[in-house]
Amino acid sequence: MAVNFTINGETKSFHGDPRASLLDVLRDQYRLTGAKSVCGEGFCGSCTVHVNGAPIMSCLKPIGMLEGADVVTIEGLAKLDDLNPVQQAFEDFDVVQCGMCFPGLVMSLTEFLNGNPTFDRDSVKSAMTGNICRCTGYERIIDAVMSLQAHSSSKAEARQ
């Protein structure tokens, strides 16, 4: 069985065991190691990627369910010299420590900002429920996201 899908805009055809997790396929087959293999149970969020625009836990998604899907990983979210707003805010606020949780956090929070032009600290925390960080204590992460409030509002106005 071949599973045909796209990763970061590139067409792929996977011919291995379709019960393998998307996370294992991304890391082992395609060497996209931005998504991390940590808890393996969908609790920590380090494996978060976008499938058809929605953040999901790639450790829990069998590759066989992704026929025709559009997968975006942290590597494909933005260019290295043109970071997306969440990535830039994290850099500006100097919040990254060990780096294990941040790809997943960026994936979750990018989608959160796309759907929420206005937000408060509590809603940011809710959006981060599935992303565990053991280093930072979270507050500076939330500060960084809150700094994007104006950016997110102006994007929403531009769409209108």
Binding site: M1, P18, R19, C39, G42, K61, P62, G64, G130
Partner: protein, 294 residues
């Protein structure tokens, strides 16, 4: 439809295109295959110390199982509807608040986009489901189809039977009668979110013309291996004005009908200890829903 040759050659993953194909494939493959909904339970097999080399028969492509339909009398929810989709579908319905609260607080946002109502109910060994007490207090029926028959079973009656579903039987939808009740769902975790609840509770209450409790259905989950009705508290609340009732004290008198299960998250005695507080939280929500009229 995938070629029969793939099935014959021991394909490890089959994307069923329709319900008939899913049922016939599962029946043909017997105990060498399993139906797969959102996959969030089966993909954690290794973490549970289980080996699983069975063929996955994915139900994700069956449109019929993703449908949510309403009429004046009932809500029908396809078994492949995700938690996330369920929250959006039932928003604003007073009698279904317990369902939106349960579906909207389970796990975390990413898992809620993947995990289905059918998979949640059918996962054996999962004691902390939020959807089970919510559906049970709404008197939900589980519809099970096989090539030869369709059966609708009250949810609490279905739970002990789910391990005995035969190959080819699939849970297709959940049917919930609509009422004028108010409902709510409360849960207690070690942290604020993102974990299985140590205790959860759903309640559905109807009032009489004087604002007193006419009927009460209270289902407790996660305290024991299977969710069950809190009969003592239900009887004790009949005829009460909820806002004038010390729910926590009354609930404390009726704890003996539970045998708390010990788990890595909490011992059984602790689950029972906190249960009255969780009951009080659920009833506060219901009082608000009735506008303080009880």
């Amino acid at each position: 439809m995938q070629a029969d040759t793939e099935r014959d050659l021991g394909a490890k993953f089959i994307n069923a295109c329709n319900l008939d194909e899913a049922m016939s494939t599962l029946a043909a493959l017997g105990n060498t295959a399993i139906p797969v909904a959102g996959a969030t339970w089966v993909m954690r097999s290794k973490a549970r110390g289980e080996t699983n080399d069975k063929t996955f028969v994915s139900l994700s492509g069956i449109e019929q199982l993703n449908q949510i339909t309403w009429d004046d009398h009932q809500l029908s929810i396809g078994s492949m509807v995700t938690h996330d989709a369920l929250v959006k579908a039932v928003a604003g319905k007073k009698d279904l608040v317990c369902l939106s609260q349960a579906a909207g607080s389970s796990a975390n946002p990413a898992v809620r986009r993947m995990a289905t109502i059918g998979g949640n109910i059918c996962s054996l060994g999962f004691f902390a489901s939020d959807l089970v007490p919510a559906l049970a207090c709404l008197s939900a029926f589980v519809e099970v189809q096989s090539p030869s028959a369709t059966e609708q079973i009250p949810l609490l009656d279905f739970l002990p039977r789910r391990a005995d579903l035969s190959a080819g039987q699939i849970v297709t939808r959940f049917v919930i009668p609509r009422t004028n009740n108010a409902s709510s769902h409360a849960r207690l975790l070690m942290r604020k979110a993102g974990e299985y609840p140590m205790v959860n509770l759903s309640a559905s209450i109807a009032l009489d013309d004087s604002g007193k409790v006419a009927t009460a259905c209270i289902i407790v989950g996660s305290v024991e291996d299977q969710a069950k009705r809190w009969s003592g508290l239900e009887k004790a609340l009949l005829g009460c004005v909820l806002s004038q009732t010390d729910i926590k004290s009354i609930a404390s008198i009726h704890l003996d009908e539970f045998v708390g299960r010990d788990g890595v998250d909490a011992p059984g005695w602790y689950r029972k200890r906190v249960l009255p507080k969780v009951a009080a939280q659920a009833m506060d929500t219901i009082v608000s829903a009735f506008g303080g009229a009880t």
